[in-house]
């Protein structure tokens, strides 16, 4: 696993009818790193993440996750990724713990009840184990969605604008969760509009514009001042 990069994308293309969303995207993400992808609305962030998560089929190019080709080893790859999307992907009439036990069993997690309780406590939902999802606030649903994504301890986390709807406390939890993931040699990919999150969480950065990666830098190479200015003025992002 350590020999191959966590994620290797070559020449990825995707169009919806005549609208080209991703054009020739190349991307390498190593184990133990977090990559934040910035991009304005319609830049292709969500499509890129969905392609990595095998939620949409690319028109061209190749994607390797943990050394496996997504067009072949789909089930094994699914075991290795955790996905947080725009929607929580949960069942409204089931409680928090029931949702996690259900999804955990789907992933074959051992001692799932214990694991679900632990994850919910870590995500600050310890007092809401038996609350139904429909009765949770948007932010709490988001926390639960993150819990669902990590219930099976996937080495790779894909998070599409994880900050949406989260308060400061929850953001800190997510930040430390990502830190612990990368420290255990996992890989995390985040898309965001927020410069503060992208630059403040100490990650590698990339800018996606009109479906192409136009900038990529390691964390230590990023000139924060220049980056802020560029993202604010050229890509219409928020601070």
């Amino acid at each position: 696993m350590a020999l191959e990069p966590a994620i290797l994308v070559n020449g990825l293309c995707k169009s919806f009818e005549d609208n080209s969303v991703l054009s020739n995207v190349d991307l390498t993400i190593d184990w133990g790193t977090q990559l934040t992808i910035f991009g304005s609305n319609g830049s292709g962030k969500t499509t890129l993440l969905k392609s990595l998560a095998m939620q949409c089929r690319p028109d061209g190019g190749s994607i390797n996750i943990a050394g496996r080709d997504v067009s072949r080893d789909r089930s094994t790859i699914r075991q290795n990724i955790g996905v947080v999307g725009h929607q929580p992907m949960l069942y409204q009439d089931m409680t928090c713990i029931e949702n996690l036990i259900f999804f955990g069993r789907m992933y074959g997690v051992n001692e799932i009840a214990k694991r679900a309780q632990k994850v919910l406590s870590e995500m600050g939902l310890g007092r809401h184990l038996n609350d139904r999802v429909r009765n949770l606030s948007h932010g709490m649903q988001k926390r639960l969605a993150i819990s669902r994504a990590i219930i099976h301890k996937p080495p790779i986390l894909l998070m599409d604008e994880p900050e949406t709807g989260l308060d400061i406390v929850a953001l800190e939890i997510v930040k430390s969760l990502i830190k612990s993931w990368t420290s255990k040699m996992g890989a995390v990919v985040i898309t965001t509009h927020s410069i503060e999150i992208g630059l403040g969480w100490g990650s590698d950065v990339a800018i996606l514009n009109n479906g192409a990666i136009v900038y990529r830098a390691k964390q230590e190479e990023v000139d924060q001042m220049w980056m802020r200015k560029t993202l604010l003025s050229n890509f219409g992002l928020t601070s």
């Binding site: 009439d93 789907m106 649903q141």
Partner: protein
């Protein structure tokens, strides 16, 4: 093998649990089917002499209309909060997902159909309950649920899903529906033994087998984008 059956049972458990909690599927389709029975009761001049001729048709009209509601709702639940995507992200085969949803659909449809039989008996003053009829109901409902799971998964993301599902569904299940109505008519009318309707049973079995082979295979293509 365990990896195949566990997700199926989990999906069925999840569907039953959510149905017990929100009572959306069974209650709504049951009430709708009762309304169909009541309307038929008023619309047709039903006498003790004609009831055995009409009973089968009326029963299956109510079953199939209720079934359409069950099918639509069964996948609408999956669309809430995009939970179907969550399921598709799990490392389970698309076949297991299909069989889980199909079994839930079959169970819900059977519950509604069994609840309707006594209501029919009261409204039409005619006892239709017999083991042969239950057998026909099971075979026909397997066919409906098998095709319904596939088409409900296709239509749930369309704008006009309530229209799309019947348009796709009815032409395909027509052989099952005709066999079920004909077999039921023989059973209800003359108390015919199973041996006398074996032609219809064989036809039902044949279409069930065809659907059970083709639909899970096609489902994989439908849900993968």
């Amino acid at each position: 093998m365990k990896n195949f059956f566990v997700p199926i049972l989990l999906i069925v458990w999840k569907d039953i649990l959510t149905e017990i909690r929100n009572k959306d599927i069974i209650l709504a389709s049951f009430v709708f089917a009762i309304l169909v029975l009541v309307i038929c009761n008023f619309a047709f001049e039903i006498t003790p002499a004609t009831v055995h001729i009409l009973a089968s048709g009326i029963l299956w009209i109510s079953f199939i209309f209720a079934g359409i509601l069950v099918m639509t709702h069964s996948f609408v639940v999956e669309n809430d909060l995009n939970s179907l995507e969550g399921l598709l992200l799990c490392p389970i085969s698309r076949d297991a997902l299909y069989w889980g949803k199909m079994l839930s659909l079959f169970l819900f449809m059977m519950v509604v159909e069994l609840l309707l039989l006594p209501i029919f008996a009261v409204l039409f003053d005619y006892n239709v309950l017999s083991p042969s009829l239950i057998l026909i109901m099971v075979l026909a409902t397997i066919g409906f649920a098998t095709v319904g799971t596939l088409f409900a998964s296709m239509s749930v993301n369309t704008r006009a899903r309530e229209i799309m599902l019947p348009i796709l569904f009815f032409p395909v299940v027509t052989p099952v529906l005709i066999s079920a109505v004909e077999a039921s008519m023989s059973i209800i009318g003359g108390g015919t033994a199973i041996i006398d309707i074996r032609g219809w049973i064989q036809l039902l079995l044949l279409f069930d087998v065809v659907y059970l082979v083709v639909c899970p295979w096609a489902f994989g293509f439908v849900v993968e984008e």
